[in-house]
């Protein structure tokens, strides 16, 4: 099972691939293992049997969260889903549209907003949006129009000619998100978009992402976070990352998705005042007090 490299025969579409029509799976992560060689020569198993499926929701915005405490392997999972790192075993499959067969993910298929919002420092905000889009085949005029429209939506038109170095942290984050939105890719993963923000700005980012998801229903957002409340407010599905325990209660190495909350079924998705609902508090309490300590 634990082969060093992800060989192609193991990465064929599984039975999940051809499932239901209304909820077609768009992204299937199948039994990922990921180990790191440590400096003392031993191997640290970070992910073990990590699987998740993200299905299409017709004409609805889609935001899912991967929730787990610090050090649980969220960034590791993100890097594999984005194709930046190879898993030790397992595979990530992507469907490009209705009726098309799933195929293994490649770098560039999935957009990534990295934790520290890197941008090309030598390009101004406009060109940070336009250049990557043109490189990947968009016409210059179309890219210009789209960049102007997106900047306007995000209230950033004034900063169009600014160098990244001249942006505030929040503005930088927005440009990093827009840069990924420029290209028509279905999935955009955000690594810890709420970290280091005060409560007011967390609400701003939640509002911004929700608005974006509503305007661009072709895009799905995968949010990686350890912030339980924000994850519950923003998502329609929450995947809880954690580890199994042995008989003595010790964690067994290797995290996987332990629990999935379908917030649509719970009536907690697409609800403006979701925080006021009793069910919201219940689930939050459950995750904070029961699930998180186990992880």
């Amino acid at each position: 099972m634990a082969e060093p490299e992800n060989d192609d025969t193991s990465c064929q579409p599984g039975p999940l691939a051809g499932a239901a029509e209304l909820h077609e799976p768009l992204l299937v992560v199948e039994k990922l293992d990921k180990g790191f060689r440590l400096n003392d020569g031993s191997t640290l198993l970070v992910l073990k049997d990590f699987s998740l499926t993200i299905r299409d929701i017709k004409d609805k915005p889609q935001i899912v969260s991967l929730l787990g405490p610090s050090g649980s392997g969220k960034t590791t999972a993100l890097r594999i889903i984005a194709g930046l790192d190879e898993p030790t075993a397992g595979c990530v499959l992507l469907t490009e549209g209705a009726g098309k067969p799933p195929r293994p993910v490649r770098v560039g298929d999935v957009g990534v907003v990295f934790q520290r919002y890197p941008l090309f420092e030598d390009l101004n905000v406009f060109n940070n949006l336009i250049e990557p889009a043109v490189r990947s085949g968009m016409s210059r005029q179309a890219a210009k129009d789209k960049a102007a429209q997106l900047l306007d939506e995000f209230d950033m038109l004034k900063q169009g000619l600014a160098w990244p170095m001249q942006l505030s942290g929040g503005q930088r984050q927005r440009v990093a998100i827009l840069q990924q939105l420029m290209q028509d890719r279905h999935f955009i993963i955000l690594d810890e978009p709420f970290s280091g923000l005060d409560p007011v700005n967390i609400m701003n980012v939640i509002e911004l992402l929700t608005r974006t998801a509503n305007m661009h229903t072709l895009n799905s957002f995968i949010i990686i976070t350890h912030d339980v409340t924000s994850a519950l407010i923003i998502s329609d599905h929450v995947f809880l990352l954690g580890r199994e325990r042995d008989a003595k209660g010790q964690p067994i190495p290797g995290a996987r998705v332990m629990k999935e909350y379908d917030l649509i079924a719970e009536g907690l998705a697409y609800h403006p005042e979701v925080e006021d609902l009793p069910r919201f508090s219940e689930i939050r309490k459950e995750i904070k007090l029961v699930e998180f300590p186990k992880l």
Partner: protein
């Protein structure tokens, strides 16, 4: 005893007063700040003129000699020799820049890494140590001088340029890849464009190192003249004012050159001025 601190604070200096006094003295007024270089230069000239130990010729002597050298015609003159040296400097720098950039860029290709490493190691060997090699490869004179300067500067440039490339955060490459850049596009975007201003800094730095090499190289290849050969000739007949006159010429050219690189960097990459202010 009136120390600086007690003068400033009056009577018994409070705790930490000495440090504060030093800070005050080290923090000049607006006029001094605006003319800092000129003031230091004036101080230097004053010390030079009134220096009781006559290790250097006086400014007046040097100034006079400069005038004489300016009027000298042909291969003896200031203009001709400065031109010869400046030409060598510019051509050598140009070749060294191109060669070093290519070798430094190649350092990202595993196949060429040993080559890059070897070139970096060679910088520990004095350039004149390669004299015989150059003599067999080139005829003495212009080609050999250019080759020596180019090779000598390249050893240093390759090292510093490779260092610049090695210090690019991996995240920059990943950003480009995630945005769908191909390998070549990533190379151009992150390595070539991303490090261009730092490369200009490195070239400017090495142009300065180059002046040390030029005088040595021109001392070995005297047929064409040049500042190095003139310094050698003048010091062998103990004409110190002329030697210092040429040293000052080198200093002025080097400062102007450095200033040109700063202007070039600001004009080509305006975002670096933002970084400087931040």
């Amino acid at each position: 005893m009136a120390t600086a601190a007690s003068k400033i604070f009056g009577g018994q200096p409070p705790k930490g007063a000495y440090l504060q006094a030093v800070r005050l003295i080290g923090n000049p007024g607006a006029f001094v700040r605006a003319n800092l270089i000129l003031i230091w230069l004036a101080l230097f000239v004053l010390v030079w003129i009134f220096n009781p130990i006559k290790a250097m010729p006086y400014p007046s002597e040097i100034w006079q000699t400069l005038g004489e050298m300016w009027r000298l015609q042909g291969s003896q003159g200031l203009v001709y020799n400065t031109y010869v040296t400046l030409k060598l400097n510019v051509v050598g720098l140009l070749y060294a820049t191109i060669i070093s950039l290519v070798i430094a860029y190649l350092s990202v290709v595993p196949l060429f890494q040993p080559f890059n490493k070897t070139v970096q190691w060679l910088r520990y060997i004095p350039i004149v140590g390669f004299n015989l090699v150059f003599l067999t490869l080139f005829t003495i004179g212009w080609p050999m001088k250019v080759a020596m300067l180019t090779v000598g500067m390249s050893f240093f440039l390759v090292t510093s340029m490779t260092g610049v490339i090695a210090s690019i955060p991996p995240l920059k490459f990943e950003l480009a890849r995630v945005l769908g850049y191909s390998d070549w596009q990533t190379f151009y975007r992150v390595i070539v464009r991303g490090t261009a201003p730092q490369m200009i800094d490195m070239i400017a730095q090495n142009a300065a190192i180059g002046w040390v090499m030029i005088t040595a190289i021109e001392t070995y290849n005297r047929t064409e003249g040049g500042i190095g050969s003139q310094i050698y000739a003048y010091s062998s007949i103990n004409n110190l004012p002329a030697v210092y006159a040429y040293l000052i010429v080198i200093g002025v050219i080097a400062i102007l050159e450095d200033w040109l690189f700063v202007l070039l960097k600001r004009a080509l990459f305006p975002y670096t001025t933002v970084a400087e202010r931040a």
